[in-house]
């Protein structure tokens, strides 16, 4: 156990020490690093767009038949629909139309709502960000706090209980937990009938401060569901990171100075152990946007996840494809941010 064993996956061991202080070499290296990450992100995004397009086009299933399912349509009407959505063009020309549209932030048209996908997404982006953001912040705070407790005394009773509870919630299907909460706290039966609303985001007739309170009340159950399922990973990473730090020499020094145990943990060990969790938080922020699909579906939260679910059942290819690109893009963006921010925080991995 030495202090050098940190869980970083960046380009560790970059020759920072023997490089001449200041100078243009360092600036060039940093520029190269940033440029490299940016290129990777752009190439990934391009691949996502291409894959998304062909995944939803080449594979079986005819969008027009899906759109008109269950209704009698004449051949002329079908041809008209095809022309309207550009489906009569050859595939490559459809692709270039689509890619050109993307440059103008045009994600195509939803077959189901007959509205531009971009508008639909913008309408529902706010609720999703509100829910996902609140959930992530609460889960990260809770997980990091409990993880710091558990990791300080590994094998102790607090650690065992904490880990067991977190692992249990981690193993529970998100949507099931949400349904249970609805039965217990929101539906007409259960322990507290009607304590919280079962669906939606805000009461329709509320205004001003009332609307804010109503939104908060609607958010309680979705946020609790989200937090219960995702806080385990923050707990586990904080725990193992703190265990890695525990043997470090500077902690011995701190103790030798006569600091109390709690102070050693809070002031010295935890700040250093927090470093590896930064990457994880960013990565999760990217995933969480799509991770709320289940929570939003269960609680009928008017966000992107619910939109995706509704598009899936039609199936509304334009909408689903647009959301696919958006979800992947959010992960790519967050990965990029993590790559760029981490070296600022941890000098050991600076380029």
């Amino acid at each position: 156990m030495t202090s050098t064993s940190t869980a970083t996956d960046g380009p560790a061991g970059a020759p920072t020490e023997d490089a001449p202080a200041g100078g243009g070499g360092r600036a060039r290296r940093v520029a190269l690093y940033v440029l490299g990450r940016l290129t990777t992100a752009v190439v990934s995004l391009g691949a996502v767009i291409v894959a998304g397009f062909f995944l939803f086009r080449i594979l079986p299933g005819d969008p027009v038949r899906a759109m008109t399912e269950g209704r009698e349509v004449s051949l002329e009407q079908e041809a008209e629909l095809r022309r309207q959505f550009g489906l009569d063009q050859p595939l490559w020309s459809q692709f270039f139309d689509y890619a050109g549209g993307l440059l103008r932030l045009d994600l195509g048209v939803s077959f189901q709502y007959r509205e531009p996908v971009t508008e639909l997404i913008l309408e529902r982006l706010g609720p999703t960000l509100l829910l996902a953001g609140t959930g992530t912040i609460v889960a990260a705070l809770l997980g990091l706090f409990l993880g710091a407790r558990a990791g300080w005394r590994p094998g102790g009773r607090g650690d065992r209980v904490n880990t067991a509870v977190a692992l249990f919630f981690w193993s529970v299907p998100t949507f099931w937990l949400g349904l249970l909460l609805i039965v217990l706290l929101a539906s007409g039966r259960g322990f507290f009938p009607g304590l919280f609303p079962t669906s939606g985001m805000v009461a329709p007739d509320a205004t001003g401060i009332e609307a804010v309170l109503s939104t908060a009340r609607h958010m309680v159950l979705p946020v609790v569901t989200m937090v219960a399922v995702i806080y385990a990973q923050y707990l586990m990473i904080m725990r193992s990171s703190l265990i890695d730090e525990k043997g470090a020499d500077y902690l011995t020094t701190a103790r030798a100075k006569g600091l109390r145990d709690g102070l050693v943990r809070r002031r010295h060990a935890v700040p250093n152990a927090l470093l590896p969790t930064v990457t994880l938080i960013f990565l999760n922020l990217g995933q969480v946007v799509s991770g709320v699909i289940l929570v939003e579906t269960v609680f009928s939260w008017p966000g992107l996840g619910h939109l995706f679910y509704s598009g899936l059942h039609v199936p509304d290819l334009g909408l689903v494809q647009g959301l696919f690109v958006l979800f992947a893009a959010s992960v790519i963006l967050m990965n990029l941010l993590a790559d760029l921010v981490y070296p600022l925080l941890d000098p050991r991995v600076r380029p």
């Binding site: 299907p173 259960g190 079962t198 699909i293 899936l312 696919f324």
Partner: protein, 319 residues
């Protein structure tokens, strides 16, 4: 490996044991050591026991459950009967026993979870070992292959797993095979990364160099020297992935992507929701399937963590 050898066991008249016997004895001893240190892990043992119980129930289900009672038309009871001695977990909206449904659902859920894991672990191991091996000893061409493979892995890693699985399940023809493929094709990247890292560590060992110096080709080194040493890590990862796959299966079923003709835990939950069990407060239709998923996923996770701590001495020291 020795069992695959077609040659008959050497008739060694001398008391000096042949290398083969020695190797077998060594392996048996290593296995014993492994089992003993696994048995020390109480959580791991609890997971193993619960898995064995559930697997036994799932495998022997046809012996004590009449399949006709699981069809909508042949349901034995009334709709929404609360739990009673006859139906320990009550009945669903068609009058089928929920307990029977759960036991029968274990067959599909476990099978899908295991098969999806086989797909993803095979894919991950293949890509990880190839990338690791050619990256460290394949020359320029090998390095390019390795880089390309890892770039593809990284790319899959950034795709939102659930969205991709749902998309695959939506565009492929419906059925259990599709679910397995959709899960298997989306959860492999972490395995590939892990296996590659382990392969690189193994490739740096002298015995791999010796094998290469003796004229061992790429396939030989990968199959006989790298793979056996990567297997422990893969095994632990496999157990953890089964839990992920079972939850993923229930999620896909819940989103309506499952095969409606088969009975799986996710399918039962989806049926319960569409039947209105949530608002009607029919808890015995909703709680058991979710609990079953949680118990199985937790058991696999516990086993996987126990295996990890046995294999990785650094973890053993800590916890």
């Amino acid at each position: 490996m020795t069992g695959l050898d077609p040659r008959p066991a050497p008739r060694a008249p001398a008391p000096v044991p042949s290398p083969r016997v020695l190797a077998r004895r060594r392996r048996r001893r290593a296995l014993g050591r492994f089992a003993r240190s696994y048995a020390h892990n109480r959580a791991g043992m609890a997971g193993l026991v619960s898995l064995l119980l559930i697997a036994t129930a799932a495998l022997t289900a046809p012996l004590f459950i009449d399949q006709a009672h699981l069809t909508v038309t042949g349901a034995p009871g009334q709709a929404y009967e609360p739990p009673s001695p006859e139906y320990p977990l009550g009945t669903d909206n068609f009058g089928r026993s929920v307990l029977d449904l759960i036991i029968w659902g274990a067959r599909v859920s476990l099978a899908v979870g295991l098969l999806a894991t086989v797909v993803s672990v095979s894919l991950g191991t293949l890509i990880g070992v190839t990338a690791g091996h050619f990256g460290s000893s394949g020359g320029t061409g090998g390095r390019i292959t390795s880089t390309v493979l890892m770039r593809i892995t990284d790319w899959f890693l950034v795709l939102p797993t659930l969205v991709l699985a749902v998309a695959l399940a939506a565009v492929l023809p419906g059925g259990t095979g599709t679910i397995i493929a959709a899960i298997g094709l989306t959860v492999w990247p972490p395995t590939a990364r892990l296996v590659r890292a382990q392969t690189l560590a193994v490739e740096a060992r002298p015995y791999v160099e010796r094998a290469r110096a003796l004229g061992g080709g790429h396939t030989h080194v990968m199959l006989w020297h790298v793979l056996p040493n990567v297997m422990p890590v893969v095994l632990a990862q496999t157990t953890l992935l089964v839990a992920t796959s079972i939850i993923a299966e229930s999620t896909l079923a819940f989103l309506g992507m499952g095969d409606p003709t088969t009975i799986s835990w996710g399918g039962i939950l989806e049926a319960a929701r569409t039947a209105g069990a949530v608002s009607a407060g029919i808890w015995w239709y909703m709680v058991p399937p979710g609990l079953a998923i949680a118990v199985v996923a937790l058991s696999f996770t516990l086993c996987g963590r126990a295996l990890e701590s046995v294999i990785n001495p650094r973890l053993r020291e800590n916890s």
